[in-house]
Amino acid sequence: MANVLAVCEQKEGQVRKVSRETVAAARGLADALGGSVDAIVLGAPGVDPAGANLGAAGADRVLVAADPSFALYAPDDSAATIAAQAKVGDYAAVVLAATATGRDLGPRLAARLDVPLATDVTGLAVEGGKVVATRPVYAGKAIQTVVVEARPALVSVRPNTFTAGTGAQGHGGTVVSVQAVTGAARVVVKEVKAAEQGALDVAEASIVVSGGRGMKGPEHFHLIEELAKAFGTAAVGASRAVVDAGWRPHGEQVGQTGKTVSPQLYVAVGISGAIQHLAGMRTAKVIVAINKDKDAPIFKVADYGIVGDAFEIVPRLAEEIRKIRAG
């Protein structure tokens, strides 16, 4: 069998957007292998995969395992359920997203299936029947190409890398119910404390606005937040210096000891561009730098730069973007 299983994530019953990318990556592999794509969704009864339109993203079938214990992420039971399906389905490959959930689930699944795991993959190919994956290492300072010599080939794909709808369309995404394997939980997720309303994670956002030491203090980060808000769907990021100084939470840190990001647009404000920061954001499609020092290393990787005072430039930029978006 040359079929591929795509592991989807849901939140409050709706399939997450990142899962369309997971399905797209699985579609690419299935096309190369000559197989079909099953997308699996685990959720509480009533979970609705329809909204995500996984068929258009590349799924042939959507497998739904519904159980009350899947309302929140259930690490052990999720691994058990997906491992059981992976065995029944005899898949050539299993694809997850390299998200907070996928990073937790992938290794558990690997151990249960006794196969290795290639993480944070940005490119997938099939050579001589084997899955070959490219993945950034050293936070993007180097690109590693690995051959996966196991079946199923288990891989997690980096968010914002695979685009849904570029492969062949799936066959409508027929929904099939599958058995949940539950009752052996060693850890229990009791609740999810929600971050600020509408806050986006830097690793998944298509636009990231980051601030550095040039912001001069935590009290000025509202300028960064307002610029992110002006873009509509942007996340706020931060340099290591300002996280270490306690100005911003570590979840926002971009760089080798933080998150590596690949957004469509990365705006670096008051960030000089230490090697470990550049490593974490150099795969952004377009980089804009705003810095008062025209010799700052950030300008070497930026597509567009403005030299000057961030406190004057950022509010103006936010204002102009709001005008554009207002039409």
Partner: protein
């Protein structure tokens, strides 16, 4: 309290990477190596938990080259009691093979906690800790940024997209540590001196055949030279024109 802390020796994050002559690994000449930054949180947590419990044994375990003993001395200088090095050079790209070697060493060790950093800043795998947990059949919480332990039970918080997950577990357990969990101490001179006398047991890692192999390692494509659009707020309209018409990202 008996705790194992698993650490890795990695290139300093300020290192500029050069590709080795084999085309699959990093040229280590002139590279400064450090204790993986996330493992510092694991070491610190182990020490605080041991001391809060009124004593115990903190074993620092590493899988890697003989030179990893230098890195282990850092952990011993911070306050770990003893070390175990599982020799492997190079470290396989197959994280499950690494996890099996570590699990075999820890099995039956009677540890209350087994701590890891949430990931190593070289291979970015985020995987060996939870794999070890699965292999040992232990509860596991990954990327722990806040931890409370009371009477053999624990509550951990981990960052997820859009919030913090609150996770309950019973000990013994495997936890992988994130930034924010604590503030790692610097080794004091006294600790550095004491670390020289602490024992490190050295033995070959029991590694199976790797099933992920590295075919190539390359530098990423250079970004093409950008340009300075202008100076000050007056450059904003031109920047936006370029973002819309040239880069087409708005």
């Amino acid at each position: 309290m008996k705790i194992a802390v698993c650490i890795k020796r990695v290139p300093d994050t300020e290192t500029r990477i050069r590709i080795g002559g084999d085309g699959t690994s990093v040229d280590e000449a002139g590279v400064k190596f450090i204790l993986n930054p996330y493992d510092e949180f694991a070491v610190e947590e182990a020490l605080q938990r041991r001391d809060k419990a009124g004593g115990g044994d903190v074993v620092v375990l590493s899988l890697g080259a003989d030179a990893a003993q230098e890195t282990m001395r850092t952990a011993l200088a911070m306050g770990c009691d003893r070390g175990v090095l599982l020799q492997a050079s190079p470290i396989p790209a197959d994280g499950l093979a690494v996890a099996k070697a570590i699990a075999a060493e820890l099995k039956g060790g009677g540890f209350d906690l087994i701590l890891f950093g949430k990931m190593a800043v070289d291979d970015y795998n985020h995987q060996v800790g939870p794999m070890v947990a699965e292999l040992l059949g232990l509860p596991c919480v990954t990327s722990v940024a806040h931890l409370e332990l009371e009477g053999g039970k624990g509550t951990a918080e981990r960052e997820v997209e859009g919030g913090m997950e609150v996770v309950e577990f019973a000990m013994p357990a495997v936890l992988t540590c994130d930034k924010g969990l604590n503030t790692p101490r610097y080794p004091a001179l006294k600790g550095i001196m004491a670390a020289k006398k602490k024992p490190i047991e050295v033995k070959p890692a029991q590694l199976g055949a790797p099933r992920i192999t590295v075919k190539a390692l390359a530098l990423p494509p250079e970004r093409k030279e950008g340009r300075i659009v202008g100076e000050g707020p007056d450059a904003v309209p031109e920047l936006l024109r370029l973002l819309r018409e040239e880069a087409k990202v708005l």
